[in-house]
């Protein structure tokens, strides 16, 4: 067994009471403190502490408030505004022309072109991190998730970004309940894994589209915020941008940070978020899903998103890679729930802008799917 921390103290040095811990141990403690405010205070303790604080590898930055800045002077509600076309990527633009209702919703909850500026006591994350020249693992936490949902709704998203989005999974449900007693021994919903027809007519589909768009906008806005930090800190190996609600988590690992640096995406100056390319979106649905721990989720939905240019959708390696991401995305009862949703029938969420009728947004059975429910009748 090779010990990971090997710290020898010279016994002859003992022991000035003030300096009883060698630098390496103090630094180890600082890495475990991680919280940037606490570290800032440690830096004012003494000269020795000051020189050690800025050597930490692990930093945790808790944002205390988010300021919204309206960076758009065009009519923000006009979808034909030229700025809009720049800001919204292909993907969002298509939705825009097909589904006006969710689009309005998206604007009201997310502020459209508005940039969000997270702050820590009126200082930007980049300012706060300025002197931390050795940070490798950075975790930033926003005070709340950005996507507003109705009470009782469960919505979580996880996304992996390089230069732009690489993987995204959204998990949601319309209501979380304590499991009713009668359902302990029998499953109340016996179905073939297909989506019931009512899903298309009662607003169920529309709601899922809104969740998807809002989550993607939140993710790409967050990614945009990280740009200056990644540029300032070439030492970064892992970057997480989460929120205190546990709603969304954006992840960038070693490979993703490398891609970001080597192939930076040219972002429009007017844009306050990273453009999301046209993507494949797959939806899985269950009207009712048991969660471990005596809870049940109604209208359980899993949407997985991958850029369509990202290789073919059918190759096995790609699928395995995505599955690994999806299974690793959530924790606890949600992990099990996502797993059981993955076994259900796959539908392709088609966002087609060629026809401007709202019903163009359709959920279709994936033709080449290799699902276990492949004997189901075609839903599209």
């Amino acid at each position: 067994m090779q010990p990971k921390a090997r710290v020898y103290a010279d016994p002859s040095l003992d022991l000035d009471e003030f300096e009883r811990l060698p630098d390496s141990i103090v630094l180890l403690i600082f890495n475990k403190v991680a919280d940037v405010r606490s570290l800032g205070r440690c830096s004012a303790v003494s000269k020795r502490f000051n020189s050690l604080v800025y050597l930490v590898n692990d930093v945790y930055l808790k944002i205390d408030h988010v300021v919204t800045i309206d960076g758009d002077c065009d009519d923000p509600l006009s979808p034909s505004s030229p700025r809009h076309r720049r800001v919204f990527s292909n993907f969002v633009k298509l939705i825009l022309s097909t589904l006006l209702k969710p689009f309005h919703n998206l604007r009201s909850t997310n502020g459209g072109n508005k940039a969000i500026v997270p702050q820590l006591s009126h200082h930007s994350p980049a300012q706060v991190l300025k002197n931390f020249a050795h940070v490798r693992n950075l975790r930033i936490e926003l005070p709340a998730g950005e996507v507003a949902t109705e009470e009782g709704v469960l919505l979580k998203w996880r996304a992996e970004f390089g230069s732009t989005i690489q993987n995204c999974v959204i998990f949601g449900g319309t209501r979380v309940d304590r499991k009713p007693v009668f359902s302990e021994h029998e499953s109340p919903v016996e179905d073939s894994g297909s989506i019931p027809d009512s899903f298309y007519t009662n607003g169920g589909l529309k709601l899922r589209v809104v969740w998807t768009i809002n989550s993607l906008i939140a993710a790409s806005t967050r990614h945009y915020l990280l740009q200056p930090i990644i540029k300032d800190h070439p030492t970064l190996k892992s970057l997480v941008l989460a929120d205190a609600d546990g709603q969304g988590t954006l992840n960038m690992g070693v490979e993703q940070l490398k891609e970001f640096r080597e192939k930076p995406l040219i972002a429009s100056a007017a844009s306050s978020r990273t453009q999301v390319p046209a993507s494949n979106m797959k939806l899985k649905y269950s009207p009712y899903l048991d969660l471990p721990g005596g809870m049940a989720l109604q209208g359980a939905t899993l949407v997985t998103i991958k850029p369509s240019s990202d290789g073919s959708s059918g190759t096995n390696t790609n699928t395995t890679e995505s599955d690994t991401f999806i299974f690793g995305a959530f924790e606890g009862p949600f992990k099990a729930a996502a797993k059981s949703l993955m076994k259900r029938r796959t539908y392709l969420l088609e966002m087609n802008g060629a026809n401007h009728k709202p019903d163009m947004v359709k959920v279709e059975t994936e033709e080449h799917q290799q699902e276990q429910h492949s004997n189901c009748s075609d839903a599209g």
């Binding site: 990971k4 710290v7 003992d14 003030f18 403690i29 405010r37 004012a44």
Partner: protein, 166 residues
């Protein structure tokens, strides 16, 4: 005051750890091997039950501190296979670091000196948790550090990270 001392039993290899204040702790090899420092040392010099190697320790590791480290090493040498399994072991770890400040810092130092990585992890995490959210003065008091900044210098230092004081 020799409750930490154990008589060698049987033909098993033993090693004696001797603190500066004269206490001797006789431990078996499995326990000693939890410490990277002792493991390296013993792989060179060897030890036996008849003639156990005596290893003197620096004065910063008092018998009270060494007692804690030995307790940890003995428990972990037995591992999760012991009655109670991993869960009991985790609880043991949790309770082990419930120490007063001075003892915690001393055990941290000892864990580093003796190279017991998991114990060092536990104690340094406990120290980190303790100093989180402390004021500058509280951190100084905790570590027994006296500021060597001039008033002017401290002002500059604080202005470098205003977000830590607002």
């Amino acid at each position: 005051m020799s409750e930490g001392t154990k008589e060698p039993d049987g033909g098993e290899e033993k090693v004696v750890l001797k603190t500066h204040d004269g206490q001797e702790f006789t431990v078996d090899m499995a326990t000693a091997n939890q410490s990277g420092t002792l493991k390296n040392l013993l792989s060179e010099v060897g030890s036996s039950s008849n003639n156990p190697q005596v290893i003197p320790l620096p004065s910063s590791i008092t018998s009270r501190v060494l007692g804690k480290v030995v307790e940890y090493c003995q428990r972990h040498a037995a591992g999760g296979g012991r009655r109670g399994g991993m869960q009991a072991l985790e609880q043991f770890d949790e309770e082990l670091v419930e120490l007063d400040k001075d003892m915690l810092l001393d055990v941290t130092y000892a864990a580093a000196f003796l190279d017991v990585p998991r114990l060092l992890d536990l104690t340094s995490q406990a120290v980190a948790d303790a100093i989180k959210n402390m004021s500058v003065e509280e951190v100084r008091h905790y570590f027994g550090v006296v500021s060597d900044f001039t008033e002017e210098e401290e002002k500059v230092i604080r202005s470098e990270c205003p977000w830590a004081f607002e």
